[in-house]
Structure formats: structure tokens, C-alpha cells
Symmetry: C2
Subunit: 308 residues, 2 copies
Amino acid sequence: MNEVKVHAPATVANVVCGFDCLGFALSEPYDEILVRKINEPTIRITHLDDFGLPTDPKKNVVGVALQAMLDLINAGFGFEVEITKHIKPGSGIGSSSASSSGAVVAANHLLGDRFTKLELADFAMDGEKLASGERHADNVAPCIFGGFTLVRSTDPLDIVLLDFPPLFATVIHPQIEIKTSDARAILPKDVPLKDAIRQWSNLGSLVAALAKGDCDLISRSMEDLIVEPVRKSLIPEFDEVKSASLEAGALGGGISGSGPSIFMLSGTPEIAQKIAEAMSAVYGNTGIEFNIHVSQIESEGVRILMDN
Amino acid sequence: MNEVKVHAPATVANVVCGFDCLGFALSEPYDEILVRKINEPTIRITHLDDFGLPTDPKKNVVGVALQAMLDLINAGFGFEVEITKHIKPGSGIGSSSASSSGAVVAANHLLGDRFTKLELADFAMDGEKLASGERHADNVAPCIFGGFTLVRSTDPLDIVLLDFPPLFATVIHPQIEIKTSDARAILPKDVPLKDAIRQWSNLGSLVAALAKGDCDLISRSMEDLIVEPVRKSLIPEFDEVKSASLEAGALGGGISGSGPSIFMLSGTPEIAQKIAEAMSAVYGNTGIEFNIHVSQIESEGVRILMDN
């Protein structure tokens, strides 16, 4: 086997009350990444899209993640990578982690699947560090494992796969830029204990509700007292999108990652479509360009499309 | 039917990372409460134990909880109550809520089970308010419903019943007094966001681990960064009891309620017994009197022992 092509899903992190730990994978959009093993001990990156991302492997999340893997095994060989991104960089639905997660899964397959998914997530987190300055696993975990994941700890890395019922997501991506540094600077350093208690009660309840498939309880538990109230100011019409979506039948939702995308969960594809229309009606009046993805929750993570 | 006797279990609240929301019921110890319907619109309380608790219904948690029920239905009748407590008041394993929860379940049975368990929990919370100044449901919920419960919200009351594997608890009750006001005053008003995140990641993980029956993950998730570090100073030898218990095979544990009892969870009755011996060895050197309960997690809440 000399080359492997994978499909790497977009992901939603910071799921409402599960800030910095809870995420899920989307069936749409996704990236396609082809990795070839080459004899030279180097990494070559080509982009088959128009996003103008760096090709220098030290400045590209794929390069950094693959280098972490090559370094660990003292490899005398290298990789050639062709990336076809469909997930827009900066959208807040795990664009960087789809690239790095997809690349390490493909490379691992070329190496006879010698690493576990947990180890692969660890490599991909080096890519996240390049992208955001932090070795976080909120997007990498659902991207590699699929479904809903909870990152209990990043050091040591501990990822919990959650049970969940069939669910659908509607994501609107307003074409504005939110700098990660701004989204981070706006967070409080300390929070009132009583708000933290309410947040963890909601998260515990949400995890139980997902396992039970109890949509009413999922809906009641999707409340964020801590992050959404401060970050929503960075996203025009956030409250209007949310209330129109709830009116259209959404179970709940919030900011995807650190924005600017907003996601809403629902129990049927029909409701997910109605939410898309409601979001579109709100954003149609703003003059801000946007696109909307209607998707199911993808239970599979990065998957092999082709190897030869 | 004129009289009903119930069995009301002790409970552990504030389960490690689930401060103020997560609790479970114990098979030992328990209270027995007999309620008789009487024609006079009054509440009469008799104690068949030596704890010297008040018999004035306005000053007794049972009286207050039953009065809330009588008031709601504009009852023209009353109740006579005989309480046999085996759960020591002030032990931190839900003594007051066993009394109030047991009494309202018994009274409800006399009234043809007209109220739901959630409504009964609401009445019993009036008893908790008398005992602690707060309408909390952390003990009332597992006492009435049994098993592991999560109180998502107290207003409106929202109680989530969790799935869990067979588990055992060892509880040591050092015979010292901790004033609720002291236990509360020592809590921080604000907590670092990063600690709150770690706490809710652990709680989400613990709920998932209980549902999966994954004892390793239960163990890894039982970490409390916020309350235990400050409250453990109120309990002599807390660290020693905890480390001896973990060495004896405990999955984890912490302060029960606001103390002074310490609980440890384990996967088998044999380990639970070994933990009891380890705890006993630590406390044997302190000169402080103590007793120890070895128990399974009780999946049933308050239950009817007799009606006629």
C-alpha cells in the first residue's frame, strides 16, 4: 500500500454547557486528504482548494501532526499530502482538526494501523496547537472517533465516547472573522460557584439525556450560563438566530467552537431543514454573507475512502 | 387503609465532582416511619428513638413536609407520625431527608398515591429548608427515587435518574459535629474557570461511566478540584482515610454531603469490607468515636413496609 485517501468530518466543539470538553461530528461538510508514503524523510503538502493555506509543513497543521508521528517512530521516510478542503478555515466547525486528524489516520493506515485512535488524537493535537496555541482535543476527538465525545482530560488524554440517539444539526456560518485571541480574551477568569454548579448539573444531565435518547431532557439541559452570555456579542444576530431556531423546533444549540458558526440540534431532518430556513430568514436581512449546512450527527469519525 | 409504614434509606449527596447535584441511596442505614391518618386537622409526632429531635411539627422536618402536602390539598384531616430513626442526625448521610421523604411517601400512599414522586420530592424539600436553610434536593432525590440521581435544577425541580452498575459504598461517620453554616462559609464564592471546566468534564465523564458500567472510568472521573480541597480541613484524617481506602481498592470517594461522613465506592462487597477495615485502622488511632456502614447502592427509594 502506497497511498490512502480519507474523509474527515467537520465537528462542533464547546457544545453549550459542555464548554471545552463536549463535541460531535457532522456528516457535512468534510475534507478529503490523500497521503502517500515517500522515501525522502520529508513532508510535502499540496492544496487542491482555493483557501491559500500554507504549504510549508512547519506552518501547516497537517505537517506538524504528521511530523509528530514521524518523530516518535524515528522514521527514515516521509509523506506527500494532497488536501482538498471543503470546510472553510476559521468557520468554527473544526477545519484545522479535520485536516490534521484526517492526515494522521491516513498515515497510520499506511503504517499498518500501528497507533490507537487515542494516540492519533494526540498527534493531531500538535496541529491544534499550531492553529490555536493550545493542545486541545475538543474537535480532534469527535473527528477521529465520530459521534459525541467528551474530553475528560487532555493530560493525560482521556476521551469518553458517549451514547446518543439519532440527531440532526443545522449550522450557519456567517462569513465574518472572529480572532481566537478575541474569543479567548473575552472569557472570565473566574466564575461564580453557583453558575459553575448549574453548568455542571446541566452537562451531567445532557450526557444522561443523550444516553437515554430523551430529547426533552436534552433540550432542557442545553443551557450555557458562562460562555455564551459573553461570546455571543461577537456574533451578529446570535439571539435572533437562536430564538428563530427554537421556534422552528430546535432542541437547543449555541456557538460552535469559538464561533462565528452557530449550531442547532434537532430530532428530525425535516426540523433541521426548517431551522435552516429560519436561520436564513434572519441572516438574509443583515447584509452578511453566510452559508448553512444541514447534517446528521456522524457516528463514524475519519474513514478510509481508498487505499492502494 | 389507615396507616402506612415505610423504609427510608440514607443517602450520599455532593458525590465528588457532582457537588450540589449528584447523589445516591444506601441500603444501610435507614429510618422507619409510620404515618396514620387522623380526623383532626393537625400533625402529631412521636419519636421511638433517643435522638431527642423536636416533636413540635413546625420545628420538625417531617411536620413541615407533611404540612406542605396538607396545605396544597386544603385537607380537613391530619397525620400522626411515629419515627424510628437509625440514621444519626448530623451524620451527613441524609438523616433529615430520610425522615421527610419517608413521611411524604407514606402519607401519599394513604391518600391513594395522588402525587408523583417529583411532587413528593418538592414537599420533602420544605423539610430540607427547615433543616439547612435551603430547599435543596440532593438527598431527597435519591431517597425517594433510589439509585443515582442528578438534580438538574431545583426551580423548577428537575431530577434525572441515572443508569449505574452494581456498586458498593463504605461510609465512615466520625462522631464530630460540623455546622452546616461552617461548611458553607468555607466555600469559595468564585472559582477559576479552568477548575470549573475540569470539574464539569469529570462530572460528564462520571455520568457516562456509570451508564456504561465502566469502573476504571468511574475511578478516573472521581476528582473534586473545588469543594473537597477546602472542606476536607473540617474532617480529621480525611486524606489518610482516602488514601488507605484507595489502597484497599476503592474506586474513589469523598465527603458525604457536607460531612463529617466520608464515603468510598467500590465494585464488590469484599472490597467494600476491606475499605471498612482500612478506615477503621486510620480512625482507631484518633481517639474520635466513629461508626462504619458497608452498604450496596440501593436502587429502590422509600418503600412501603406495611399498610392497613
